[in-house]
């Protein structure tokens, strides 16, 4: 594909779209598919055909429309009208409403509520309003324009400078400056180099990356291609969990489309730049989200982490310089190249730029996928966007960062969402799962749940994680079963400190976080279970 071809496709697709008076965007991501949105699409298509409206009404299979719990979701045109829990039987009514200019009352889902209005869509700017399985439709909304700009108008150094200036930090959780990572790989003289995408979204409660891969696979490919151009790599790997069959299917399809049309391969946009991408499937190991384990897994080995340094940027896949970024990080790249670093860094806080996508779930009214600017208070996310706690229950804690994160209590809800603030309250940004818990959740049980997770996901390579998570889980189980002693609590704290500081990789180093944060904010729940009579110990 040449730059002219890309432009031509955009014009052609836009013209085609101009003919439609109305577009029904039907969500076809995992959540809505499981509520049978495929039947809705078919019913709408049949109804359109029956009424002979094929030329004026378009039925589109799109990515996530945010409100996963209300599925199947349908958005009309630009999304001013949203329908929830649509069934195939509703198709005639939805088409009838078009003529009258009204809405179908019983399906109506207000698009004006804070769940939508408080969001700021940067990475997901077009998500839900184009067909991710259709390359031309993706190009219509701007796919590959940033890649064209990067390879035809910018030098690799300029691309890296732009990314560095944007202030983008890794969206996988740790928040390492992306530009710095890229320049380390770029500076390494050794070849070949690899670009790897970490799509092993293992944190329970996080599904932003799944949504990205299902709903906008071309954006991910484009981000990786730009990274490859900037760092001098010619081969890339996307590592996806096998638990995400739809994401695997759509990515495979997208890679094939891009390769067939020359957006991947050699002489991309008529330049010397060549890049190809292969998909690698995970096989059910949380530890493979850790970058060095992920590399072991791509090499066909047990997913064991390796000591760092050397960092993958210097010695990674097959011992070669390797750039590893998370799905959302790559998805940010095209926007930064298109709209400039200055524009991107105007969003967010001093140290955390841009937006973050969160998957909000648990005991909260509105569950689903949200994109918000960095720095928004946690309270706003839970009570405005999330709509608060259902059933008249009281909020107790919000869990961020999965098994590596912590539980944040009511008293800390006014902190802004950024890497440092979350760290200061004993949690981490993590990949973006937000699980809300109400007063019915027992925090010792929550800590036990996560420790059970870490114990069974520990790879077994290093002693502190292998044996330490076992002992911590035993103690938590004992306390939860009201068999614990004050000595158990002391030992638990000692183990937390030791495992955190001595483990080989991130899994072990962060495994104690859920325990430490619940001990910090909900110590009375532990002591209540230890002493038969409830104590009134003041929280620290």
């Amino acid at each position: 594909m040449t730059p002219e071809d890309l432009h031509g496709t955009v014009l052609k697709q836009q013209a085609k779209h101009g003919n439609y008076q109305h577009v029904f965007n039907v969500c076809m991501e995992s959540g809505c598919v499981s509520c049978n949105s495929a039947a809705v699409v078919e019913a709408l298509e049949a109804e359109v055909k029956k009424r002979g409206l094929q030329k004026t009404v378009c039925i589109k299979r799109v990515g996530c429309l945010c409100s996963c719990a209300q599925g199947p979701m349908v958005a009309l045109d630009k999304g001013d009208t949203l329908y929830k829990a649509v069934t195939a039987a509703d198709a005639p009514a939805m088409l009838d409403a078009l003529d009258k200019g009204g809405r179908v009352e019983h399906l109506d889902f207000s698009s004006k509520q804070p769940f939508f209005s408080r969001q700021l869509k940067v990475v997901r700017e077009h998500a839900g309003y184009f067909d991710p399985e259709d390359l031309d439709d993706s190009i219509r909304v701007g796919a590959y324009e940033a890649l064209r700009k990067a390879v035809t108008e910018m030098t690799p150094t300029e691309v890296i400078t732009e990314i560095a200036n944007s202030g983008l930090r890794g969206r996988g959780g740790a928040g390492f400056p992306t530009g710095l990572k890229w320049s380390t790989v770029a500076k390494n003289p050794s070849t070949p180099k690899y670009v790897v995408c970490n799509g092993d979204e293992g944190d329970p409660g996080a599904f932003m990356d799944r949504s990205m891969m299902e709903g906008d696979p071309h954006r991910l490919i484009e981000g990786m291609a730009i990274a490859a151009y900037a760092t001098g790599a010619n081969r890339g790997f996307i590592y996806v969990r096998a638990e995400y069959p739809l994401a695997v299917k759509r990515l495979t399809r997208a890679i094939n489309q891009a390769t067939r049309t020359g957006l991947l391969g050699s002489r991309i946009f008529d330049t010397k730049f060549a890049f190809e991408i292969e998909l690698r499937l995970g096989a059910g190991a949380f530890v493979c989200g850790e970058e060095t384990s992920l590399l072991s897994s791509i090499e066909g080995q047990r997913g064991l982490p390796r000591p760092r340094p050397p960092f993958p940027a210097n010695s990674g896949l097959f011992g070669k310089p390797t750039l590893i970024n998370n799905v959302e990080t790559y998805a940010n790249i095209p926007t930064i190249i298109n709209k400039s670093a200055a524009w991107f860094s105007s969003i967010g806080t001093a140290k955390s730029k841009g937006t973050k996508i969160f998957a909000i779930s648990g005991k909260v009214h509105n569950t689903g996928l949200i994109e918000v600017p960095m720095g928004i208070p946690l309270r706003d996310i839970i009570f405005d966007i999330g709509g608060g706690i259902p059933g008249g229950k009281k909020f107790k804690a919000v869990q961020t960062g999965g098994p590596s994160g912590g539980c944040i209590p009511e008293s800390q809800l006014d902190i802004p969402v950024d890497y440092e603030s979350l760290m200061s309250v004993g949690s981490i940004m993590g990949s973006g799962g937000l699980i809300v818990m109400d007063e019915t959740s027992n925090m010792v049980d929550v800590a036990r749940f996560f420790m059970e997770f870490c114990m069974s996901e520990s790879c077994g390579k290093c002693v502190p994680c292998r044996v330490g998570t076992y002992h911590m889980h035993e103690i938590l189980q004992r306390i939860y079963d009201r068999q614990g002693t004050p000595q158990d609590l002391a030992l638990l704290q000692e183990l937390c400190d030791m495992v955190k500081n001595t483990s080989l990789c991130g899994l072990g180093q962060t495994a104690p976080n859920p325990v430490l944060s619940t001990l910090r904010y909900f110590k009375d729940e532990y002591t209540n279970l230890i002493h038969s009579t409830p104590t009134t110990e003041v929280l620290p």
Partner: protein, 243 residues
């Protein structure tokens, strides 16, 4: 074979401080190498000269000034001006706890062990002053594989240091041994988790037995305290390969 100067630049000389002592080394050397050259003792269990670095036992963790993190000295290369502490109360506590974890993980009953008196775990515990284990013992029910004519694999004693796996794959080239499962359910296996005698790839060279730091891999027919290990072959073989 000697390295031609064009393939590798001459090693740069570095100076650094270990436990307050100024030392020098060549670039590319690990902290552990340099400490040992200077008679500074850092405890290790999984590391063995001649085998690739594993970094799993975490006993060799050291502090480096300017970082709050601890570093495995077996896997960390020296850099110019590094200021390293190998002994501190904090490190000693962690090291003791690691040994306690190993003792609690499986069934280490020294009094009846053929390796009693020749065991690295035992001597390490004595050296670091581990007098009692305040973690509850797991007492797992584990098997002993005595199918093989000459050697025995006793999972009760195994500390999963992976030395046997590495020596079998890297030095002997047989790769009979590997690890199965994960986490607390990790075990050393022969071929497809078969009785050792049925593992056709095994050459019965016995290298695994002699690199095993504990009484997990032993020669048959040894009685309590009789199983002393002989390691002289390893540096010999590695140097033969390098030159």
């Amino acid at each position: 074979m000697t390295m031609s100067p064009t393939t590798k630049p001459p090693a740069e000389s570095l100076t650094l401080t270990i436990d307050g002592k100024d030392v020098s080394c060549r670039s590319g050397q690990t902290i552990l190498d340099v400490a040992r050259e200077n008679d500074i003792d850092i405890p290790t269990l999984c590391q063995l000269d001649g085998l690739t670095t594993w970094g799993g036992c975490r006993l060799c963790l050291v502090e480096i000034a300017g970082s709050s993190k601890l570093f495995a000295s077996c896997a960390t290369q020296c850099t110019e001006g590094m200021n390293i502490t190998t002994q501190s109360d904090r490190l000693l506590n962690y090291r003791r706890m690691i040994l306690e974890m190993l003792f609690s993980e499986r069934n280490h009953i020294c009094a009846v062990c053929v390796s009693n008196g020749h065991c690295e775990l035992q001597s390490m515990a004595q050296k670091l002053g581990v007098t009692h284990i305040h973690l509850p013992y797991r007492y797992p029910k584990l098997t002993v594989d005595s199918s093989q004519d000459r050697f025995r694999l006793d999972h009760n004693r195994c500390i999963l240091c992976s030395r046997c796996v590495r020596v079998c794959g890297e030095i002997e080239g047989a790769h009979t041994k590997d690890l199965k499962g994960r986490g607390i359910k990790t075990f050393v296996i022969n071929d497809l988790d078969q009785p050792w005698a049925d593992a056709k790839s095994c050459t019965t060279c016995g290298k695994c037995v002699h690199v095993c730091p504990v009484g997990a891999l032993t020669e048959r027919g040894t009685a309590v305290s009789e199983m002393a290990k002989r390691r002289a072959f390893l540096p010999y073989l590695t140097s033969m390969r390098e030159h």
